[in-house]
Symmetry: C2
Subunit: 641 residues, 2 copies
Amino acid sequence: MPHKEFRDLVDPETAREAVFDLPIPAGTDRVSLQDAAGRVLAERVDATIDVPGFDRASLDGYALRSADTVGADEANPAHLSVVGTVHAGEEPGVTVGDGEAVEISTGAVMPDGADAMVPVERTDRASAEDDESAAGGGSLLVRTSVAPGANVAVAGSDVAAGERALGPGTHLTPREIGLLSALGVETVPVRARPRVGIVSTGDELVPPGGAVDSGRGEIYDVNSYSIAAAVEDAGGEAIRYPHVGDDWDAMESVLREAAAECDLVLSSGSTSAGAIDVVYRVIEELGELVFHGVSVKPGKPMLVGRLGGVGYVGLPGYPVSAMMTFRTFVAPAIREAAGLTVAETATVEGVMAVDERYPEGRHRLLPVGLVEPGPDELNGDVTVEQPATAVDDPLVYPVDRGSGATTSLTRADGIVEFSADRTSLAAGERVTVSLFSAAGGPPSLFGVGEDDPTVSRALDALESPRYLADGSRPALRSLRIGLPDVAVVAGPIESGYDGVELTRFSREWGLLVPDGDPDGVSGLAAVVDRDLRFANRTAASGVRRSFDAALDDLASSTDRDPDALASAIDGYDVAVRAHDGPARRVVAGEADVGLGLRASADRHALGFVPLGDQPVRLLANPDRVEKPAVDRLHRAVDDLS
Amino acid sequence: MPHKEFRDLVDPETAREAVFDLPIPAGTDRVSLQDAAGRVLAERVDATIDVPGFDRASLDGYALRSADTVGADEANPAHLSVVGTVHAGEEPGVTVGDGEAVEISTGAVMPDGADAMVPVERTDRASAEDDESAAGGGSLLVRTSVAPGANVAVAGSDVAAGERALGPGTHLTPREIGLLSALGVETVPVRARPRVGIVSTGDELVPPGGAVDSGRGEIYDVNSYSIAAAVEDAGGEAIRYPHVGDDWDAMESVLREAAAECDLVLSSGSTSAGAIDVVYRVIEELGELVFHGVSVKPGKPMLVGRLGGVGYVGLPGYPVSAMMTFRTFVAPAIREAAGLTVAETATVEGVMAVDERYPEGRHRLLPVGLVEPGPDELNGDVTVEQPATAVDDPLVYPVDRGSGATTSLTRADGIVEFSADRTSLAAGERVTVSLFSAAGGPPSLFGVGEDDPTVSRALDALESPRYLADGSRPALRSLRIGLPDVAVVAGPIESGYDGVELTRFSREWGLLVPDGDPDGVSGLAAVVDRDLRFANRTAASGVRRSFDAALDDLASSTDRDPDALASAIDGYDVAVRAHDGPARRVVAGEADVGLGLRASADRHALGFVPLGDQPVRLLANPDRVEKPAVDRLHRAVDDLS
C-alpha cells in the first residue's frame, strides 16, 4: 500500500464527499440546563406540564365575575365589594361571588368564582375606613366592562402538556434555554461533541512553552493548537495527543490510542517517509485507505482513511495550508456530526482588488485578506454583470507570504476557492470569500509600512487594525495599487508617491553598540574599516535606505566604490525584519554593531552613535482619508510623536 | 427614595448610555493557549523569538551554493557532489563547499556554506553505486540556476524578534492561536469576562427540576437561566444567586453579596413592592439610583443604579421583555467590558410582511419572526425608495403572543426597534432586525396549524423548522395573508382557502375514556346527558370543529338547541391547546371523558369511543411551494401517514 500518494489524485469535490462520508460516531450527552446553551438538542422535547400551570392574572388589578361588569364605563362604574387579596406565589384563600372582587397581583392564581380581571388603572377604590360595609375590604368602582377570560392567561395557554416544545436538532440559544426552564426541564439530551484527536507528528516540533533548539531546526508546534481551536469552532472536542518525535513505534501506538478514544483522528505534516509508512501501516491494519492526494493547491498531500470505526485525515504541514484544508474539507464533516448546520460557515461577497494569475489551471484555495473600500471607490469599477449589491462590499487581496509563514494565518481573513478551469482572477471581479471566523470581516484599518515603535504604540489605540510591518518600499508599492488604507514610510522617498500625507514625525537612527561602546565606534567608517560584526536591516526598511544613502555619501566623500564599502562590512547581508532585531543581536553578543533607532538603544540600554534623523510619513490612500480608523491612527500618531 | 418609578421616564438613548456608563470593572486573566480561543487579548504581544529561528529549507531538495548553478538549465545541468543529508529536526553535521550539495528535507536547517536550495524535481541524481567519487553521496545534476536565498526562509523572515505580533483587543481565533504557538507563547493575558450576578426575585419562582405547586401559583424560574445564557453570549460570566423568596432580609444580603462578588448585578421582575423597597434600600446604602423607568415598551420599569463600584440593572419580569431589554440595553455594555466589538450584534434587513399599528406613539421593541419569501414573492412589493438589495431578504412578522408567554422567546428571531414618532409599520416596509442569535436567520420552514402527532413526527425530520401549533383556524387566517410556508388544517373547512393542497391524510377522533370504560360511555349523547366531567379542545382546533359539528347534528336529530347541548356538558369551556391534553386529564383523573384522537388513546392506554374520521390537509403558501423544506415536510408526512 505505501506510496500510493499522487498516483491517482482525487478531485476536490470527491475529497469533500469522502471526508463527509467518514464515520464520525458522536453520540448523545445529557447536560444540565446551565451547560446546554450552544449545544444541539438530540431528541424532541415535549411539554410535560401546562405553562402556566394555573389560570394566571396578567396584570395587577381585581379578579371578578365578568357578568358583574356588563355596561360599566367611566361614567357608570360597576360597584363591587373587595373580599380579599391574592399575591403571586400564594394560594387564593377566598372565592369570588356575585358582586365581589379580589385584589390580585400580576402572576397570581385567579381565585375560584372569578372568570376575568380588570387592571387597577380602570378602577377606583374607597378605603375600608370610608366604607365599612365590606369585611376587610372596601368598595370598588370598576370603570370598564370585560369579557370572560379578559386579562387572564388560562392554564396551558402558553404551552400545553403534551405539546411539542422543541424538535431534535434545535440549536439551544438563550431563548430555548428560557423555554426549557419554563417547562421545568433540568437536564437535556444534546448531541455529543465529536471527539477529534490531533496527533502531532514531526521530529522538529516542540510544544509552546518548551525550549526550541534552533540549531537542530526545532520549531514550535503550531497546527496542534490552531487546528484544535478550529475543531472547537466547528463544534468538536479537540484532544491533543502528545508529540511523538521520531519513534515510529510510539507514533503507531498513539495513532491506535487516538483511534480507540476518538470519533475522528487528524494529523498534520507527516512529511517524512517514516511517518507516512506508520500511518499507512495503522490504516492497513485497522481500516482502509480512502485516498491519498487531492488535486488542490494547497492540500495535495491530504490523506484520508478509516481507522476501524472512525475516520482519519492527514492534513498538510504548513500552518496556513493545514488551516485552509481543515476549513474546506474537514470542518463541514465535524459540523454535521455535531448536529450544527453545515451551511453556517460564514461567507462574504467581495471584489478583487488586484489581478491574480497562475501559470497553470489548478483547483486552488487562495488565502485572502479583506479591506473595506472608501465610499465611492467601487463605483463603476466592478467588471461583472451583477450590480454592486451593497456599497460596502470589501476589497479582496491575496495573501502572498507563502503557506510556510505562520503570519499568513493572521494576515488572511478567509479563502477564495476557484476551480481548475481558471488561471486568473481580474481586479474588479466579484468573489465569494469563505471566512475563517464567523465574526470575521474587514479589519478596521489596513496599513502597510515601516516597523516603527511609535506607529506600533499608536496601533494599540485602535480596535482590530491590521498592520503589515513589511517595510517602507512594500508600503509604497502597495499604496500605488490602492490596496492599504495607510502606508507608513520612513527615510528618503526617491520619487513621488500616491498617498495623502496625513502627518510626519522625525526619528533618530544610527548605530547601536554595547553599553559603554567597548569598541569605540565613532561613526559609519568604523563599521566599514574595522573588523566588527554588523547586524543590518532589510532593504525594505527606511532605516536601511538611510544607511545605504549614508554609505553612498561616505563612498563619494572618500572616493570609494559604494559596493566595495558594503562588501567590506561583515554582516551587511545579515538583514533582519524588525526594527528591534539588530539591538537584540547586539545584546545577545551576536553582533558588535547594529543598525537601528535611538528608541531601540534606549529600550535595551545600549550605546547609540547617531547618524541622522529621518522623517516617518503617515500616508493615506486618497480614497480612504475619511475612514474613521485612519483618522484615529492619525490622531494617535500625533499624540505619541 | 421609594416610588420614584415612572415620575421621570428617561428616553431610550439616555438609558442605553447610562447602562453603558455603569462601572463594570472587569480585569485581566492569564490563560493557557488551549483555553485562549474566543478570548480577547488584554495586552500587546510582541515576538520574543525569530520565526523561523534558523535559515530553513522551504522544500525537499538540495542545499548548495547559488554560484555553482550559474548558467545551469535542463540541457546543461550543473554537476555537484552530494556530501551529506540534513533532515528536519537535526543539526547539520556537514558544511557545503564549492561544487558540493547536501540533501535536505523541508523544514530542515540550511547547512553552513550553502546560500540557496534547489527542489528535488529540478535535479537528477546518480546513486552512490553508480558513482563512487563522492563519499556517502553521489553526483547530482542540477537543471536550473538559483539566486542566493532561493527556497530558503531566512531566520526571522516570518516574524522577527521584537516585532509587534498581536495588538491589545485582538479577538483570539484559531489563527491567532496558531501565531502565538509559533512564537512559543504558553499563556496569554486576556480580558477577564465580566462577572455578572443574576439575582432571582419573586416568591413564586421555582428552579427547574424542583416541584411547582400550581395551586400556589408557583412557576419555574425562566429569566435566571435565559438571561444567564444571554450574558455568556455577550462575553460575560453568569453567576446565578439563589432564589430569595419573600424574605426581604435574605434578599438584601444576596444583593450585597452579589455586589461584592460581581462586576454587574442583574435582577428581573421585582414586581412586588417589598422587593423594590429592598433594591432601593441597598442601592441607597451602597451607591446611587441612576434612573427608574424608561419610555420604551416593553422595558418601562427598568431600574438602573450603582452598587458601590459595580452597576445594577433591574429587568422586567416577563421573559421576552427581560430578554429584549437585556439585548437592547445591557448586552452592549457587557460586550464592551469584555473587550468584544459592540457592533458584533448581528442584524439583518427584512421586509414587513403585515401592517402593524399602534394606538399611541411609544418607543417600542417589537419581537419579530423571520420567514424566507419565495423566489418572486417580493418583486414590486417593497414600498420604500431603496431597491431590494438581495432577493432573499426575509419577511418580518410581529410575534403577538404577548410578553407573558415564554413561547414568544422561541417564536421570535429578533427585535425591530422603532421610535415614538411612529405609530405604524406598513407591509412591504424595509426594517432592520437585531437578531437574538448571531447564527440566527429564518427557520428552514415556517408552519402554522393543527397540533397533530403525525405532523409533529414529520417535523422531526426537518432541520430547524418553526411550527406554531395554534390550531386550524389561525392557520387558515395566517395563510390568507401569505405569512407561513405551510398550514396544517384538520376537520371541516367552511369556505375556500388560499393554499395549495400538497397532501392529506385521515385521522380518527372521538372520546377518550379510562381503560375499560368504567362509565360505559357509548357515544356523544352520554357526554351531554350524563354527569361526566369533560375535557375539551380549544375552538382553534380541528378536532373541536368536528366535535361541534357532531353536536350540531345531534341537536338537529334530537330537535334540541345546540347551545343548550353545549351548556349541558360539564367542562365544555375547559379547553386545552394540545391534542394530548384531554387524554392527560383523563389519565390524571381530572376528567371522565376527553375529546381527542385515537393516537392519544393508544399512547396513554385509554379507552376510545370513535366518533368519526377527519381529514388533515397540508396546505402550502402558493409562493413557497418550491421551498425545499416544504417538499421535505410533504414527503415526511406522506412517509408517516
